[in-house]
């Protein structure tokens, strides 16, 4: 290309840029708008589909839930949100009485007469829970209350008539809710804090029909102006109830939170901004380019491959000086974990009618666990900052046992080889196993690493067969139909209670439920049922620990690791971002420095 041509191209581009800049844009907007980013988009904003972190981000900012998590307290602590107080619980643990705040109004919307939002009542809470049991809604959150609330399951199977009463859900008056349970459910308040429990007015659902999924009508601090899979634009709900933030009550700790300047919101009532934009940017490079631009997104989560370009040190994570001047950084363990479970429906590795083969399968699983190199996995894919722990009770929950032996997550190649040899396994008779995941480069690398681990203990690499699926939905369908012998899984906790992880191995939850291992152990089930009705206590924690040990002893899963997330945000953002416990509850408190 000649110099003249080059000059012409440059001049043309500059002219376009100048012309374009005349049109104004987000950087010239006078409104105070915080621009967040997420690595995926929610599919629906209907609370009955609030299954992902991504949908929870928008739903929690636009809808109200009865309870919420304290902004800064870790471990996570519940606090009243729309409820006026924590629930009053009957001595038998079966009846919850929940007072609801007066004067809370839904946002103005065409769904209401004359477009004016009306006051939220206990009946709205009942309606919102009932929707999960209406088959027409295909709820993804029904499991939270399935077989728990008196009469609710029957209400759903007998026609889901919203004008009919459900015995276990009653409005004692316009602002008092009574929930009657079939058996004690100490996690109930937690379930009333997540996006599935967001409160929807019936008029809006009837007005918008299925399109309530793109047109939320809530009573939260923000309302949705537009939503598509590229971006959600929220504007402040100026009619949001005026409740001043008590930063100490939200768990503020000077030593931990001073750098975020969140003390600046103390005594003020959210929402603090004119709006929030949430940009859904799957591509990490594009996200980082936008983040560094300065006038686009103000938050990003660092990917492993970006670490060396941004961090001066990985452990502890510290930014390079050029980045440290412009951005704040926080790290935290995820509220969840990654694990690889064996599918017990496969007789070649799981349950087997032949006791001798069952014992050999047990030895095989245990050998594979011993051969798994968690350190290498952590270093290769998770900055080396993930926390490896034994069993399935992750470090983020209060029931985590720091004293538990680490033997089950320590590499022991010789021990694995000996186990295989003692059980009569040879390269010739080891079963062929399919390792499946979505067919991304990252996942294929994980597979290759896994195959390498297994080769070291004598498992022929050609017997670990890679099966890529085009989408996560396809992979999930295979899990749910119990078609795969190995299931590599991540589990995000719905609430900070080990029960949410331990239910993954409860046999009534087998496929298509959340027990993708299809593990079935009557002793484990009994303990689960015993603990599931107990309020938090040392006794319950002891049972949790016994269950965890059972899973370790039975070699049910190669587990686990809780990843450390590295979050970056611009220094003018006053926030303590957190995407855990289904994410997004911090958005209510975000402010920008003036």
């Amino acid at each position: 290309m000649s110099r003249t041509t080059l000059l012409l191209v440059a001049l043309g581009t500059a002219a376009l840029a100048t012309l374009a800049s005349c049109g104004g844009g987000p950087d010239t907007a006078p409104l105070r708008v915080y621009r967040h980013s997420l690595d995926e988009a929610p599919t629906s904003l209907d609370p009955v589909h609030a299954a992902t972190v991504y949908s929870n981000y928008v739903i929690r900012a636009t809808y109200d839930t009865l309870y919420a998590y304290e902004y800064l307290a870790r471990p996570y602590e519940l606090e009243p949100n729309l409820a006026a107080a924590m629930p009053e619980i009957s001595p038998d643990g079966l009846v919850y009485t929940i007072p609801i705040k007066q004067g809370v109004r839904f946002v103005d919307d065409d769904a209401f007469p004359h477009g004016k939002g009306r006051e939220l009542t206990a009946q709205d809470v009942i309606y919102s829970i009932e929707r999960h049991f209406d088959p027409a809604n295909r709820s993804e959150g029904q499991w939270l209350w399935r077989d728990r609330i008196v009469g609710l399951d029957d209400w759903g199977t007998s026609g889901a008539n919203y004008d009919a009463d459900v015995a276990g859900l009653r409005a004692l008056d316009s602002h008092t809710l009574r929930i009657e349970l079939t058996r004690p459910y100490p996690q109930l308040p937690h379930t009333l804090a997540i996006g599935f429990a967001a409160i929807v007015p019936r008029e809006a659902v009837e007005h918008y029909g299925p399109e309530i999924g793109i047109h939320p009508v809530g009573s939260g601090p923000y309302k949705v102006e537009s939503f598509d899979t590229a971006k959600a634009v929220l504007s402040a709900n100026r009619a949001f109830r005026q409740e001043s933030v008590d930063i100490r009550a939200e768990g503020y700790d000077e030593s931990l939170h001073a750098f975020t300047h969140v003390a600046a919101i103390d005594g003020r009532a959210p929402p603090f901004l004119d709006g929030i934009e949430i940009h859904f940017i799957p591509d990490a490079t594009s996200r980082m380019n936008s983040f560094e631009k300065g006038n686009e997104i103000q938050f990003t989560e660092l990917r492993n491959e970006q670490a060396d370009a941004v961090l001066a040190s990985r452990n502890p994570p510290a930014l390079l000086p050029a980045f440290a001047q412009r951005y704040d950084l926080s790290t935290g363990l995820e509220a969840g974990f990654l694990y690889l479970t064996f599918n017990f429906d496969f007789p070649e590795i799981g349950r087997n009618e032949d006791p001798e083969r069952a014992a050999r399968n047990h030895a095989l699983r245990c050998a594979m666990i011993k051969g798994f190199d968690w350190k290498a996995r952590n270093d290769t894919f998770y900055f080396g900052l993930g926390r490896v722990f034994p069993g399935v009770i992750p470090p983020v929950v209060p029931e985590f046992d720091p004293q538990l032996s680490m033997t089950s997550v320590e590499l022991d190649v010789e021990g694995a080889r000996k186990l295989l040899a003692d059980a009569g396994w040879t390269a010739e008779n080891l079963p062929e196993l399919v390792y499946a995941d979505t067919g991304t480069g990252n996942h294929q690398q994980m597979y290759e690493q896994f195959r390498g681990f297994m080769e070291r203990i004598g498992y022929p690499p050609e017997k670990i067969v890679w099966k890529p699926y085009p989408t996560f939905g396809d992979l999930q369908a295979a899990w749910k139909q119990s078609q795969l012998p190995l299931v590599f899984h991540s589990w995000s906790l719905d609430f900070p209670d080990a029960e949410n992880a331990l239910q993954l191995f409860y046999s009534p939850n087998r496929s298509p439920g959340s027990n993708d291992s299809n593990y079935s152990n009557p002793a484990y089930d009994r303990l689960y049922e015993q603990s599931s009705v107990m309020p938090p206590s040392p006794e319950r924690t002891a049972i949790y620990h016994r269950m965890n040990q059972m899973l370790i002893d039975d070699c049910v899963a190669i587990s686990g690791i809780a990843r450390t997330r590295i979050l970056l945000w611009h220094k003018n953002v006053i926030a303590y971002p957190d995407r855990e416990i289904l994410g997004g509850f911090f958005l209510k408190y975000v402010d920008l420095a003036r």
Partner: protein
């Protein structure tokens, strides 16, 4: 008119054939979407209810006839994922794709034609070789790499920093230019090689014909030869190519551009529908594509006849 009606009637068979095959592969043999739709902990009863609700257990003829009914009324119901009416989703996303891809499409073809004319005129000379070498080089660069490079060069804080990195926040013409320029440049860069090579081949063939040689022998200048003798005759393959590209632009959008730049067009919507097993959206896209192709086929025939009356409309 008689021809058009006859052609449209014949097109029904074509549409039925194409929709049958696409329905078979995109919907009937597609992975069961029930589990994706119900999340992580459905009960077996819930799975059954949902399959019944969405007619996923219905026999093939029932589902296919339903699909044809939807296609004939252009009413595909609501997206299974977001709940949005499919017609509204198409009306929202198709104009975005059109606005995004039209400048690159028009400029890419115009520039391609221009370069092809230059190359064809100097066929075998160094300029022809240079243009063709650049065309091949451009074709060899992956679209993804081109997108990343253009974004870094024109938009990022490490480059010229002239345009937004991504997004589509268009309220006026200035916004439009801000957001469309970099994707357009990337599109032109990637498609220019293909266009130039195609147009050059067409033009070289025309330049070798007897009437062109005769025109030159009578002293016609190069611009006259191109305008009077070459381009009118080359118009048929060129117009056909352009018309056949339009359905892809309108319905297909550009998955890569839209995904990478975060632009809510039809390509991104289709990709997400595939990932989510959102069959109402997929059925709409799969159904409308052959319909648009049939229209393009018809228009191509009519244009060909208009440009060269020797082309019969039978």
């Amino acid at each position: 008119m008689h021809y058009a009606l006859r052609k449209l009637a014949g097109a029904v068979t074509l549409v039925l054939g194409v929709t049958f095959v696409s329905f078979l592969f995109m919907v009937w043999f597609a992975p069961d979407p029930t589990y994706k739709l119900l999340g992580k902990n459905p009960s077996a009863a819930q799975v059954e209810q949902t399959r019944e609700l969405l007619c996923l257990d219905c026999p093939f003829p029932v589902r296919y006839l339903r699909y044809l009914g939807e296609l004939s009324t252009f009413d595909f119901g609501n997206s299974w994922s977001s709940g949005e009416r499919v017609s509204r989703l198409l009306a929202r996303t198709m104009p975005v794709s059109l606005a995004l891809l039209a400048p690159g499409f028009v400029l890419g073809n115009a520039l391609g034609l221009l370069l092809a004319m230059v190359a064809a005129h100097w066929r075998g000379r160094w300029l022809d070789r240079l243009i063709m070498a650049c065309a091949v080089a451009g074709m060899s660069v992956s679209f993804v790499i081109a997108l990343i490079a253009f974004q870094v060069v024109f938009s990022s804080s490490y480059g010229l920093d002239l345009f937004p990195v991504r997004g589509w926040d268009v309220h006026d013409f200035g916004d439009y230019l801000r957001y469309v320029t970099v994707p357009t440049l990337a599109t032109i860069f990637v498609t220019l090689g293909y266009n130039t090579r195609f147009y050059r081949a067409v033009l070289v063939e025309e330049l070798g014909r007897d009437h062109v040689r005769t025109a030159r022998a009578f002293g016609a200048s190069t611009p006259e030869v191109f305008l009077r003798n070459v381009l009118p005759n080359a118009a048929i393959p060129i117009v056909t190519r352009l018309l056949f590209s339009i359905p892809l632009v309108v319905i297909g959008g550009s998955l890569l551009i839209e995904s990478y730049f975060g632009i809510p067009g039809i390509g991104k919507a289709t990709y997400e529908a595939i990932g989510a097993g959102d069959q109402p959206v997929l059925k709409a896209v799969v159904g409308l594509t052959p319909v648009l192709f049939v229209v393009a086929l018809l228009l191509a025939d009519l244009f060909s006849h208009a440009l060269d009356p020797r082309v019969e409309l039978r």
